[in-house]
Symmetry: C2
DNA sequence: AATGCAATGCAACGGCGTTGCAAAACAAAT
DNA sequence: ATTTGTTTTGCAACGCCGTTGCATTGCATT
């Protein structure tokens, strides 16, 4: 696992630092999306706020993580699939936000349905945000 | 037109004030969504920042406008259709954000495609955010 | 082990959204 | 039209979020 984390960083030509290893591992361990506050909380006082912001930005730039549009307009990040690269995200999958526990899931295997737009509109990206109750809370 | 604005306010049991008339008319005139900054800008120094925030919140509570999930996580508002009521939004339509001019359109007549979720997930709302170039910029 | 460069921590800043409170505006009834 | 009670507004202040500049530290390479 530790090895895996370092490999991802190396593959993206990033130097190996404690904060990058820690933050990236949080994403790998998590099944959902993380907000800045989640990371700050889960890493304790280990890293400065600013470092977390910059690390997240670096990961986005490199195509390691991506931001998610949310109904409450909070900023959340999730791991990209393998076919994402620097400046070239391919994350047209469905995101699910649980109204109960707040967890955000990336439903990778669900394909985004095609949306037919009026003439003259050119589509570059489609994001689907589904709200409801997740399978963990729905018991 | 002026009459129309007042009617909407009355129908929602809101007292008629200058700021509410002005802000509501901005939404009626606009073909797209508005951010707080847009409203503050278009109404000049006429109203306090706080009044705009509170007016928008009131409109959301009454079901007159709704917030839109955006890819850049900016907060934008748009008029609701007639079947929205207080605390009961029905805005499962498609939103389009133009990467060029920044305009956000509500494509009411486009139906949201059904998304099939894994077992245990209960859907209450589906938002589709499409990015690209609008028909106004695509010439 | 030394050197150059990149990343971090600290301090400070600006912007956004909220809250409390006094003043002003609205609605209803006389 | 005037009064009265309630709602709304404006002002001031606050806290939070995200960013920037700069000195220090840590990483990678030889």
């Amino acid at each position: 696992m530790e090895k895996n984390i370092v490999d991802i960083l190396k593959k993206n030509q990033l130097s190996i630092t404690d904060s990058r290893k820690k933050i990236l591992s949080l994403f790998v361990q998590s099944n959902g999306a993380l907000a800045h506050a989640d990371i700050e909380h889960q890493s304790g006082t280990e890293f400065d706020r600013v470092t977390i912001y910059r690390t997240l930005q670096t990961f986005v730039d490199k195509g390691i993580i991506h931001t998610i549009p949310t109904t409450d307009n909070s900023v959340r990040y999730a791991l990209c699939k393998d076919d994402c690269s620097a400046g070239h995200h391919h994350d047209d999958h469905v995101h699910f936000m649980c109204d109960n526990c707040g967890t955000t899931y990336c439903l990778d295997h669900i394909t985004v349905p095609a949306v037919k737009l009026p003439k003259g509109f050119k589509v570059t990206q489609t994001d689907v945000v589904v709200s409801g109750v997740c399978n963990n809370c729905n018991n």
